[in-house]
């Protein structure tokens, strides 16, 4: 049984194979009828125990573009609220008949637990502050489509690393593809111990700004107690925000990524967000193609063309 739970330990060839297929699906999605019959007859459940709009829509679009059916689960109306265990919920939904599960949950490791019980391929759609592997793949796809191979690319991931599953996923995927990743963060938002991570770390964005090919901005997550771990949003912007002034100091061919949702005026100035070198909407579009590639490979879809 093949799952996609984490980018940690994924081989370069595995990542590249996902990206190669995703390149094909980018082309499929540009057709007048953006749909292939690769997974016809399959059913994929999106089980989002933590609320999400865009990731869920992106997965649903990917499932439908492969001609599979979706079932969706939302915790607000589920038996979990009535005291059912997570395992019973998973087994119940599994018993309805399905071929894969996409799991998002606010707790670390939820997708691992579901994979243990479900006996179908499981895709981690984000577990707590741990991993979000399809986000990393779509980021890598966006960069590869823009720059070619990531080897030697200098990437700065800026912001709340400590609470970011996006950062934890990107670090391993990007470095496996040969990029040099630096984490830029206030000390209170850096993970306590990054020994063994394939990264450099700094608390000074301006030190490395002009060396970067990619500035990857993370959202300042107010719901994680954001404002209590740095003095104020204004000061955060001054030190860590990609202001217009900082943007102008970047290398002319460098690009800006952001997993969304963006908080304009805090981590990114509005003018930067709207610049053509901000690839934010490319990331969103590539997300559908990457998720198609992952579903296609995990479900053993057949090529029809």
């Amino acid at each position: 049984m093949r799952h996609l739970l984490t980018t940690e330990g994924l081989a370069r060839a595995e990542i590249e194979s996902f990206l190669d297929d995703a390149d094909e699906f980018v082309e499929v999605l540009s057709r007048p009828i953006p749909k292939v019959p690769a997974l016809r007859g399959k059913t994929v459940a999106t089980m989002f125990f933590e609320s999400s709009t865009r990731t869920k829509m992106s997965f649903e679009k990917a499932v439908k573009a492969l001609s599979a059916d979706t079932m969706s689960f939302s915790p607000g109306t589920s038996a979990l609220k009535k005291g059912e265990s997570l395992k019973d919920t998973v087994l119940t939904i599994k018993a309805m008949g399905l071929d894969a599960m996409i799991v998002r949950h606010s707790d670390t490791g939820a997708a691992w637990r579901v994979a243990e019980w479900a006996q179908v391929p499981v895709i981690n759609g984000g577990d707590g502050q741990h991993q979000h592997p399809t986000q990393a793949l779509l980021d890598c796809l966006t960069l590869r489509r823009h720059f070619g191979p990531l080897d030697g690319l200098r990437i700065g991931i800026v912001g709340d690393i400590r609470h970011s599953r996006v950062a934890r996923s990107d670090v391993f995927a990007m470095s496996t593809l040969g990029a040099e990743v630096t984490l830029v963060s206030p000390p209170t938002l850096l993970p306590l111990d990054t020994t063994g991570w394939p990264v450099k770390t700094t608390s000074n964005l301006d030190d490395i700004l002009t060396e970067l090919d990619v500035v990857y901005l993370l959202r300042v997550q107010a719901e994680r107690g954001g404002a209590s771990v740095f003095p104020s949003y204004a000061e955060y912007r001054q030190r860590f925000g990609l202001t217009r002034e900082r943007f102008n100091r970047l290398k002319p061919d460098s690009v800006v990524l952001h997993p969304g949702p963006m908080i304009r005026g805090v981590e990114i100035d509005a003018a930067v967000a709207d610049d053509s070198r901000a690839l934010v909407l490319d990331q969103v579009a590539n997300g559908v193609a990457v998720r198609m590639a992952v579903l296609f490979q995990l479900l053993g879809g057949e090529r029809s063309e």
């Binding site: 940690e8 265990s85 997570l86 395992k87 019973d88 949950h105 707790d107 670390t108 490791g109 939820a110 691992w112 637990r113 019980w117 707590g128 502050q129 741990h130 991993q131 400590r162 609470h163 970011s164 599953r165 934890r168 993970p191 306590l192 111990d193 990054t194 020994t195 063994g196 991570w197």
Partner: protein, 425 residues
């Protein structure tokens, strides 16, 4: 009453280990010597085994009254007997909490009815374990309680803790602290460090334990109470306890088999059988705990046997409750992890905890003529795989793994309460 003859073991007697048979009658050891004959006795084969005082667990959760779907005194006692235990101190975090005399007597009485181990109640420090006012300490004392603890929660209020220490000190009892600062531990599920950073999980730093112990030691100096640190998990806590002992304070400490065995790396499995408070820590901590147990800075092993029903652990690591079971494999796990010689093994498993819990008049005694026949026969070389449990709950990190050492027989007051191989009836 029938006789039992334990044949051919290495017996931990009053002046050290001797190869001998042990004859038991009417709850006492009546003879220790070579080639004993007792034609009417039930014979237990102890060749290759250690024969010593039954193990004493001063920290287990039997969940009765209130949470009998996790465990009750009968199932907990069965697990304990299978683990070689003859006495177990039941923690008071039941529903209702054991905070008054009649509740403590209920626990002890149920233990006697079941009859597999002596179940000794401990009592809450505060009424309802709410950390607000003193529990019914005098009633509890009269009902046989010697260890007072709000285990599961820390007594955070230093004023309340001081008053309880003063009161319990005058009686001669023990204040046992579950030492975790709730502010530093807030939101934490595992050890704070390298692994939690990688997993994006909120951590419980060792500091949370050390800060409470350091504060409590100041109160111990002021009140002269006998103070016991429950489930020590970190190298820093070991250092604090060692210093307090050299200072001459009446401080004792326990360590669990799981903290001697596993590190926080296990949490990467995402399996809640590795979730407990305090959490599994690092290799450095495990090494310090093993050394402290070997050299006596830590007085005893205690299981913190904490049953939770399967459905409570059938969830994410973060969502699952703290606590794991371990009574049945504690001795084997400790033996596997630390490899103590026979004298220190029984000192930490039997006589040490019996002293802390003030049970030494009947438990933890060296095996000699006249000693209480609360005994265990432990095979130190057997390789065993933990496959099933007598507990109602199976939230155990020991299950499915192999261990060196196995409990062959347990005797309570001269009666066999557990036999792992065929025993004549």
């Amino acid at each position: 009453m029938s006789e039992v003859l334990i044949e051919g073991g290495l017996v931990l007697g009053p002046s050290g280990p001797v190869e001998a048979d042990v004859l038991v009658r009417e709850g006492r050891v009546v003879e220790v010597g070579r080639a004993l004959t007792a034609p009417d006795a039930d014979r237990l084969d102890a060749r290759g085994c250690w024969v010593g005082p039954g193990f004493v667990d001063i920290h287990a959760h039997f969940r009765e009254p209130g949470h009998e779907y996790k465990e009750d005194i009968a199932s907990g006692s069965a697990a304990a007997a299978a683990g070689g235990y003859t006495a177990v101190v039941a923690m008071p975090n039941t529903q209702p909490a054991i905070d008054s005399g009649h509740l403590a007597r209920y626990v002890a009485d149920r233990g006697r009815e079941v009859g597999l181990v002596e179940v000794v109640p401990s009592g809450a420090i505060s009424e309802g374990r709410l950390g607000e006012k003193l529990s019914h300490v005098d009633e509890l004392w009269a009902a046989g309680v010697r260890i007072f603890t709000d285990d599961g929660d820390t007594v955070a209020d230093a004023g309340l803790l001081r008053r309880s220490m003063e009161y319990v000190a005058q009686l001669g009892g023990v204040i046992a602290q579950h030492a975790i600062d709730s502010g530093l531990a807030a939101g934490g599920h595992m050890n704070e460090g390298l692994v939690s950073s990688r997993m994006g999980m909120q951590g419980v730093p060792s500091l949370a334990e050390e800060i409470v112990i350091a504060r409590d030691l100041a109160l111990v100096r002021a009140t002269c109470v006998r103070y016991h640190v429950q489930h020590v998990s970190s190298a820093g806590a070991v250092a604090l306890i060692a210093a307090a002992k050299s200072e001459g304070l009446a401080v004792t400490a326990e360590v669990t088999p799981h903290h001697l065995t596993f590190t926080d790396v296990e949490v990467r499995s995402m399996n809640p059988v590795f979730k407990m408070m305090p959490p599994l820590r690092t290799e450095t901590d495990v090494a310090a705990l093993r050394e402290a147990l070997a050299d006596g800075v830590i007085d005893c092993v205690a299981t913190d046997h904490a049953p939770h029903a399967d459905h409570e652990k059938d969830t994410t690591f973060e969502d699952a409750p703290f606590g794991v079971t371990g009574l049945e494999w504690a001795a084997a796990a400790v033996h596997t992890a630390v490899g103590l010689d026979i004298e220190r093994f029984f000192a930490r498993m039997s006589s040490g905890p019996a002293l802390v819990a003030q049970l030494a008049d009947r438990h933890g005694q060296p095996v000699g003529v006249g000693s209480h026949a609360n005994l265990v026969v432990f095979d130190p070389t057997a390789a065993t795989v933990a496959e099933t449990t007598r507990s109602q709950s199976s939230n155990s990190p020991y299950l499915g793994r192999s261990w060196t050492g196995a409990v062959r027989f347990t005797l309570l007051a001269g009666v066999v309460t557990h036999a792992s191989v065929g025993v004549p009836s």
